[in-house]
Amino acid sequence: MAIEVRIPTILRNYTDGAKAVEGGGATLDELIADLETRHPGLRDRLVDEKGLRRFVNVYLNDEDVRFLGGLGTKVSDGDTVTVLPAVAGG
């Protein structure tokens, strides 16, 4: 159980201020469910009934999970998952 999950500032009220937490699971969905057991409320900020929330971006080792399999994306020990709010550029 060692997948590092980096949490953005706006969601750290769910992680007692921690910038990163650890969790386990075979898929992103399982990983988020595992985090929810220790950080209640976090799952609802990331996921709605249609999948990942529109303004939430999740990266597995820097690659956007929407292009890897969404919540079904396979994860394993040693991976880093980064959660970021969607921002504009230009």
């Binding site: 929330r53 971006n57 970021l84 969607a86 550029g89 230009g90």
Partner: protein, 315 residues
């Protein structure tokens, strides 16, 4: 090459090979030098196309005022075109953008309204939308949702790339308004079966992501996920390192967002090498490094440069 005016010289930028950074003769990297446009950035293309479209639709006439939220390059391009065409321009710009960008905007006659650093460009968009509502006679071109932004690249950048590199397998560009990726991506997908369209998204320091509710995030209206093959988030440290490598190994002095695109392009190149496949990977040099000298990106150690860039909008 001779042109009737500066605006006529837009586009037809060079595509140059990177013999030192390319991993092998079968897996090659190509840089499209968009800094060779009239104001020195890729944004001259969408700026010109958005203004031309607004003129055609009768929205713009001399004496009118253009409004645009921009972290810099789009504003600079719009200000140059506006100057030549007789428009006033107001740019809403986050306060955490480089000093050079402000100076250039002012040189071309733009009025700058600063938006708070926290929240970055999301805040600039919010402020600009409010100003647009308060000033109904101003014309907001709105690069994030203006189809002429993507069309500029569909009609020009895409065909130029394919003309110069018919064997293209990958296209990589920075993700901001998404206009470059949407326009070039759609064009190449129509012309080149199996082409990969790869987005490189800058990952900023925490300040830029702001403290608002996550439901108030921003996805440009132009963005269509189905055009992309994949999308990478590139840290400031990786972008800086690649920007310096491009300068040291290939002699190209580019802005930091180019390092971001190069990082993703090299990732694609390594994948191709591992898979034993040939690849011709083109990426966009969005601008030169001149506008970022004051950020300290090019001097001292990488760690120092990264620290100085914390909280800055570098793309």
């Amino acid at each position: 090459m001779r042109f009737d005016s500066l605006l006529d010289s837009l586009g037809r930028t060079p595509l140059v090979g990177l013999p030192r950074l390319s991993p092998s003769p079968e897996v090659r990297l190509w840089a499209k030098l968009e800094d060779r446009n009239p104001t020195g950035s890729v944004k001259d293309r969408p700026a010109f196309w958005m203004i031309a479209k607004a003129e055609k639709e009768g929205l713009l006439a001399p004496g009118r005022t253009i409004l645009e939220p921009t972290s810099g390059n789009t504003g600079i391009s719009l200000a140059m075109v506006a100057k030549l065409r007789g428009y006033d321009i107001v740019c809403v710009m986050p306060e955490n953008t480089s000093a050079e960008r402000r100076q250039l905007l002012e040189m071309w006659g733009a009025r700058i309204i600063s938006s708070p650093a926290a929240g970055g460009s999301n805040e600039a968009v919010r402020v600009a939308k409010r100003l647009a509502a308060e000033n109904p006679d101003w014309v907001m071109l709105y690069q994030y949702g203006n189809e002429a932004n993507a069309r500029a690249h569909y009609e020009t950048t895409g065909p130029e790339l394919l003309d110069d590199l018919p064997t293209i397998t990958h296209f990589v560009a920075g993700l901001g308004t998404t206009g470059t990726l949407m326009g070039v991506g759609r064009y190449l997908r129509e012309q080149v079966p199996g082409v990969s369209i790869v987005a490189a998204e800058p990952r900023y320091g925490e300040l830029v992501y702001g403290l608002r509710n996550i439901d108030e995030g921003f996805v440009p209206e132009l963005y269509d996920e189905s055009v992309l093959t994949t999308r990478y988030s590139v840290t400031s440290a990786d972008a800086l390192r690649r920007t310096r490598e491009l300068l040291a190994q290939e002699g190209i002095f580019a802005g930091i967002s180019t390092g971001c695109a190069l990082h993703a392009a090299l990732g694609m190149a390594n994948k191709a090498v591992k898979a034993g496949e040939r690849a011709d990977i083109a990426f966009i040099v969005a601008d030169g490094g001149w506008k970022y000298l004051s950020t300290g990106a090019y001097g001292g150690t990488l760690e120092e440069a990264e620290e100085r860039l914390e909280g800055q909008l570098w793309a």
